[in-house]
Symmetry: C2
Amino acid sequence: MTHLAAEGALDTVPIGTFTTEAGATIPGAQIAYQRWGTPLPDHSNVLVVEHALTGDSRVDQWWGELLGPGRALDTRRYCVISTNVLGGCQGSTGPSSPHPDSSRPDSQAWGSRFPALSIRDQVHAERLFLRALGITRVHAVMGGSMGGARTLEWAALYPHALRAAGVFAVSARASAWQIGIQSAQIAAVENDPHWHGGDYYATGQAPLGGLATARRIAHLTYRGELELDERFGTSAQEGENPCGAFRSPHQRFAVESYLDYQAEKLARRFDAGSYVTLTDALNRHDIGRGRGGLNKALAAIGTPTFVAGVDTDILYPYHQQEHLSRNLGNLLGMAKIVSPVGHDAFLAETRQMDRIIRSFLDRAAALP
Amino acid sequence: MTHLAAEGALDTVPIGTFTTEAGATIPGAQIAYQRWGTPLPDHSNVLVVEHALTGDSRVDQWWGELLGPGRALDTRRYCVISTNVLGGCQGSTGPSSPHPDSSRPDSQAWGSRFPALSIRDQVHAERLFLRALGITRVHAVMGGSMGGARTLEWAALYPHALRAAGVFAVSARASAWQIGIQSAQIAAVENDPHWHGGDYYATGQAPLGGLATARRIAHLTYRGELELDERFGTSAQEGENPCGAFRSPHQRFAVESYLDYQAEKLARRFDAGSYVTLTDALNRHDIGRGRGGLNKALAAIGTPTFVAGVDTDILYPYHQQEHLSRNLGNLLGMAKIVSPVGHDAFLAETRQMDRIIRSFLDRAAALP
């Protein structure tokens, strides 16, 4: 097999000219990845772990307590591989990557020339990446949220390439509510005067205000209202007075300051073009498209699939995971994450996720 | 008593110089109102009906099936009075109203000079309005959402001015989640380049894009995800392709087109300055402020109060109405609106609201 990156180190793999489901092309595409643990020669111990919207290949950061020797993602037993998604901004080709045709004077980045992607495109790119490494079949693919959507498409697109799938906190397709709230986030970025139709990379300014607005909205869909209220309630931010005689953006409630902090943190580390591209891909998520409808498509998935959801998730409500579990062709198991945290519980509730991932991998290992 | 407006006709009542809770003043303030039915000489049959955020005094439009002879708001028995809230844009003084000092050359509207308002300020202004009409005590005050917040403050501020209160689909105070999502809406308006710090009235352009973005977000908090999904799912808007090779704001899912329509409809009829002022007032809603905390303040409310909530409300979840019912000093009754519609069910579920309002008024009439 191809030489793998050193344990934990970020590396990139070229996948050639990539053609999207809708017919656009991305010449010279590459996928960034990291790996932990050692693969068996037949790759039968490889776990592909898929990140969520603004995540990346650094599983050791966002599932850090679940990764390592003796942990649920046990690196003594398994080789964990995680990519940065196509369209992302942490090493894989995305809107902020240099365009291969550098003749355009105003920008060297893809910008508005970067095509729209579907979740299927993301999985197709990852399939090409694994093949470039010489890997044609892995033990399992798993992930939550957008990572769960990719995992589900792995099971639908390439059933022979994985033994089992772990799908957490996601649905069989985008719901109208998700499309609505995600489109509002896209609009917030696009309405920023620094967006320039997506071609802001050479301007020296980024649509950080719009991205921050999008993240504030998104964060409220990731977090349960009970948890937020217990933490912040109607408290004023220290030294500020949100109930003064005149309203001011600088006189905030504590929860506003918290959301501002989360938004600024994201705006510093994440590209607005990638945010729009990946959010749009979530809008396009639909297991049923071109496969005879949702339930027919789910029934046709023979890959043993484990499903988990969060009881307080308002973005991907638990009934959507129940729908998956009732309609998937080969349900390996089902678990409910019980938490006040909301959607993000698949990242935050480490103790429960440890149990769920172990249960999933145990069942996958016991498959005939 | 003062001469009342003709049945159903919009009229205005001056309330003099208004001083806000936080100490700002609004000289020459006025309150617009409508009434239906005939008041008894002692006003003991007057019902004050309070509108929600973007509503106004036209109860015949937003609770039309509940208002009239023989209906729940029976105009043969009751005199229904509804104001436009202070800070609004349908006849009462608000940011778009002419400023009494016309010397400022760039704008004749209040704009950024209009002070912040609390829910208590809104109620105080309405109290002054009723007194200007010679009305010191009414049979009941009722309303949903922001109208429910005003109703609750009526009961807390002026217990001798009403016999009973009907509080629907609201909470004892803003939750952190509400403040978060409402602040995101305020930011969307403020980030519109046509906002001009609130002083856009003389520019010939309004921050309609920002207001539309705010409304799209708001609408998703007013509507249940199941209802939206049953209506729209992942359907494309007719003649558009949201899954094409390149993303475009003009290639939309059906739910995006629906939200765009709702947003444009609001932007045509509602002032952005009022939207910001009233949304900020909702952020400030806190029955406990300055009253020894939330539950002490609720326990001190002796006004018989009827509470109703919606089982699928994500903006004011039902547990918030349960909290009210457990802590109010004098609970008159409790009802659950069962609906897939979400928060807006207090407007949309006419049959259930008919039953709830009749139940509330029957209990209020039976009070000793």
